[in-house]
């Protein structure tokens, strides 16, 4: 029996209850972040095509969620987290755009794909790679390349709906737009990707 449950709850204060709530919330947040972090990293990586930068974005998003929204209901965490992450991705693209303009001014190459090596960026294989796994990786790399060619909003809608599994309402919340817009962006994304990848991909 805890002190709080007895009639002599000398040490049972509001702070105790707050501490218990905080511990429980910390455990819930830990579970949530552990569950979402790997998919979030891959989504960010596909968006910006750089794992280290994606890692920074995911870490920043986790910290912002913990700092600002830990008190929210856990049901709200997924769209909130992805909204933070998507904002980070957009900011990253804006910074890249500015950087590329500067590079143009200095006469440097602006081909953002020139130093991107999809093989090097692929996940490290764990041991020997069967042919099926290799084919799957190649299919995923083709998909990633096609996704990066999508307009930003279509890309966001597709990845949140397909990869993260958010429903339309959750995706709309994460993207900060209407549910109708999500449906439109998602549908156009799917049709565009299918056209790009061709029937053989499926």
């Amino acid at each position: 029996m805890t002190a709080c449950a007895t009639g002599y709850a000398v040490s049972c204060t509001r702070e105790d209850h707050a501490g218990v709530r905080t511990l429980r919330r910390e455990q819930e947040l830990n579970r949530f972040l552990a569950e979402v972090e790997k998919r979030a990293l891959r989504i960010a990586e596909i968006s910006i095509r750089d794992r280290d930068e994606a890692m920074d974005l995911v870490q920043d998003s986790m910290i912002k969620l913990a700092r600002k929204y830990a008190d929210r209901s856990p049901d709200e965490w997924t769209p909130l987290f992805y909204r933070i992450l998507q904002n980070g991705v957009r900011d990253w693209h804006r910074r890249q755009t500015v950087r590329n303009r500067v590079m143009v001014w200095f006469g440097r190459s602006t081909d953002k794909d020139s130093d991107f090596d999809p093989i090097a960026a692929a996940p490290d294989p764990a041991g020997r790679t069967p042919d099926e796994q290799l084919q799957s990786r190649e299919a995923m790399q083709s998909l990633e390349s096609a996704i990066t060619e999508l307009p930003a909003r279509q890309r966001e809608a597709f990845m949140l709906r397909t990869f993260e599994g958010l429903d339309v309402a959750g995706t709309a919340s994460a993207m900060g737009c209407s549910e109708g817009s999500v449906k439109t962006h998602y549908s156009r994304a799917v049709h565009s990707l299918r056209a790009t990848l061709g029937e053989h991909w499926q």
Partner: protein, 133 residues
């Protein structure tokens, strides 16, 4: 009136999305240990933010008012008994009391404070006899 942008997902669209999802999940499962370790460290850093925003203060300070209440309770029991020792050789040490109160099992003792007060009263005559000699 149907919304003009209302998309209709065909079975082929759904099959495409299903395959894309499966490939994505496979790529997630293949993340290397170093990457997972970095994610774990990032998560711990995020959770540390919770401590910075208040809970740490609660954790470190939560026993301070409890200890104060406990000390006041002991003083109240002593005064209630009217058993302030007269012996100047062995005065009660408030520092010792505090150490006892701060001991881990003392918080359990506080749950049965009335019982211990009764035990103390029962043993009082023996203590008084000892002090006489």
């Amino acid at each position: 009136m149907r919304k003009h942008d209302e998309p209709i997902a065909t079975p082929d669209d759904e099959a495409f999305a299903k395959r894309a999802r499966a490939l994505f999940e496979q790529s997630v499962d293949e993340l290397d240990a170093n990457t997972q370790s970095r994610l774990n460290r990032g998560r711990q850093a995020a959770l540390a933010e919770l401590d910075k925003s208040g809970p740490l203060t609660i954790r470190t300070g939560q026993w301070v008012p409890a200890a104060g209440v406990a000390a006041a309770a002991v003083v109240a029991v002593v005064l209630w008994k009217g058993n302030v020792p007269d012996d100047p050789i062995a005065p009660p040490s408030s520092a010792t009391d505090f150490e006892i109160l701060m001991a881990e099992d003392s918080f359990e003792m506080l749950e049965d404070l009335e019982f211990y007060a009764w035990i103390d009263l029962e043993t009082e005559p023996v203590d008084a006899d000892d002090n006489v000699g």
